[in-house]
Amino acid sequence: MKRKIPLTLTLVLGIVFMIQFFIPHQFSQDFKNTALEWLRVMGSFAFILGLASFITHHATKIKHKKEGWAYSPIALVALVAMTVVGIIGRSPNMNWLPVTWQGQQISVFTYLFANFYNYMMVPLGATMFSVLAFYIASAAYRSFRAKSLVSTLLLIAAFVVMLSIIFYNVIPLGNLGEWLLSVPNMAAKRGILLGASLGGIATSLKIILGIERGYLGGTK
């Protein structure tokens, strides 16, 4: 029963949405939009489970004093602070404890939420993203070492593409860089995309028909 219900639902809804794709009528669009709304509602409920997991995970770390446990109280405090400030501060017509900010009277919660987001969340995300620049350099060094014929070809191709972009119209490379990107590179990319798309369709069919059940857990 535990497996039959989800499998039946998958089969029925899979076929229904396959048919829906071919019906442009308003009735069909309304049905699709309603289903998407339901998905969003279910997603919100899943966030409660996610929240429970987050709290349990960090509470366990603190309890057992696992390596790096000191970060867990920070994570929990940040969760509570951002939630409280966000819920109160983002409420419409909120004007508790007013402060003047950029010439406007706003609630201190709204002020804190904006500051937490702009001066903590955004810079922290940007810091992680900027690390990428250094990682690209180290990864490029590994990829472009000419240790075999294939990697030598890759090195030459990358060199030509880079030169053609950086010294556009300075070094007479013609359209070689563009050609490398739009012909051999694009051909390989399309080959991968074609295979991946067919793989995606095959996996969808396997799931709809109940051939693939791994995502339900267990093998029985």
Partner: protein, 431 residues
């Protein structure tokens, strides 16, 4: 000498006022031949209006398109630049939608009327009753005549406006079948037939050959390595949601890996970015431990939700890699800019890494930083490859034949296009 005196005089003349210039020009002529038609393959909310440009198109300021709904007054729809001879109006309604909208209004007015009657607001009751009657009359008219639209195009130059003749009445209709998607339907049915055929062949016991996929072959070795080193396995099921087919493919692989981890008593860590993926992953790992006969060994804290913020998730997973030092990292599913951040940190921590994604932009990063990379379709073939279950293997063969068919079509059409056959070029560029 006279000429020399006259020239500066000529240029010193002030320009005549705009009004007098307009008076000098002949009157502008209107746009003609207005035609309105329904847009095919839509939900019934679009009409296309076409007209012949005014002969004075180069002299005008703009065209103003106006629409009349169900015989009511014309309303402005759009202001268009000269040279424009058509517009797609997507603010119209098919009859059933028009009726639905009015019935909704009627229900709302009915509710308002009840409230007003309860509070005994005589003036409001009177207004609402008139409004209700008006909408009821509209519904009756619509049912009788349909929801018809007429258009007019005004040609404008300054203050001068010339109206075209009104178009014939047109009605928007929603279609029950998208004719433009016939090719998708045919391809889908063909592929469905292939899947069914190969699944039945596999069920009959026919040996279906699968080529060796290094990344999938290495899974056992990777799990074994973690067991030997007494360190955990890290499994990242991508950063996408459960609706992404790559995430489902990754979760299918998780099942096999979790089972092996349970058998070898190797801890597995599964951090998640999406709460729904988290609940599914948790259930999969739990079931895998039960399947391996070790339900008691399942650690509920091993599968957890981290955060839905992309880079905060990366920071957390990188922290796990550096603190817990997993011997094996699996990055399977959908990845974006974080792919290299994760894979490079894993590489520096000395873990054996197996990555797999269908995001072609991230593949080079994984190939560079990981020991094995499962490319595109191999990710979807993984569950069949690992389980060797006939039904699943059959679908892989169908995939291969599907690809071969597309390849043959592309080659044949390219050859025909080279010989100048236009239909081949049209198919290649439109499909």
């Amino acid at each position: 000498m006279t000429l020399l005196i006259l020239i500066p005089l000529l240029f010193s003349q002030t320009e005549p006022p705009v009004d007098s210039l307009a008076e000098l020009l002949p009157p502008i002529r209107p746009a003609t031949g207005l035609q309105v038609s329904d847009v095919p393959n839509d939900e019934g909310n679009q009409l296309i209006v076409r007209w012949t440009l005014s002969p004075d198109d180069e002299l005008i300021d703009d065209y103003v398109v106006m629409r009349s709904e169900a015989g009511e007054e014309y309303q402005k729809v759009a202001v268009l630049a000269p040279g424009t001879d058509s517009i797609m109006d997507d603010n119209v309604l098919a009859l059933e939608l028009g009726l639905k909208q009015r019935k909704k209004q009627l229900r709302q007015l009915g509710r308002d009327l009840k409230k007003a009657q309860k509070k005994d607001y005589a003036d409001q009751i009177l207004v609402l009753e008139i409004q209700i009657k008006g909408i009821q009359e509209q519904i009756a008219t619509l049912k009788e005549n349909g929801l018809l639209y007429r258009y007019q195009v005004a040609t404008v130059r300054g203050e001068e406006t010339v109206l075209s003749k009104p178009s014939a009445a047109a009605q928007a209709t929603g279609q029950w079948f998208h004719v433009g998607r016939i090719n998708v339907l045919v391809a889908m049915l063909f592929f469905f037939f292939l899947v069914m055929y190969f699944v039945s062949q596999a069920k009959k016991g026919k040996n279906l050959f699968l080529r060796k996929i290094a990344g999938l072959e290495a899974i056992d070795e990777a799990v074994g390595r973690a067991t030997e080193m007494g360190r955990p396995i890290l499994f990242v099921p991508g950063l996408s949601h459960i609706g992404d087919i790559a995430t489902i493919a990754a979760l299918n692989i998780l099942q096999g890996i979790a089972k092996k981890a349970a058998q070898y008593d190797t801890p597995i860590i599964v951090p998640n970015r999406d709460p729904i993926v988290y609940t599914v992953a948790r259930e999969i790992v739990k079931e895998a431990y039960s399947d391996a006969g070790r339900p008691d060994a399942f650690n509920p804290d091993s599968v957890f939700f981290v955060t839905s913020s992309q880079f905060a998730y990366v920071a957390a997973v990188n922290g796990i890699m550096l603190r817990e030092k997993p011997a094996t990292n699996f990055f399977l599913g959908m990845f974006w800019a974080e792919s290299l951040l994760l894979a490079e940190t894993g590489n520096m921590s000395g873990a054996i890494q197996i990555a797999g994604t269908d995001a072609s932009a991230q593949l080079p990063f994984f190939i560079t930083a990981c020991d094995y990379t499962i490319i595109g379709e191999e990710l979807y073939a993984a569950s069949a490859y690992l389980s060797r279950e006939p039904n699943l293997v059959g679908t892989i063969k169908a995939q291969d034949w599907g690809k071969a068919t597309i390849g043959i079509f592309l080659i044949a059409l390219t050859i025909l296009a080279l010989f100048g056959l236009e239909f081949a070029t049209k198919i290649i560029t439109s499909v």
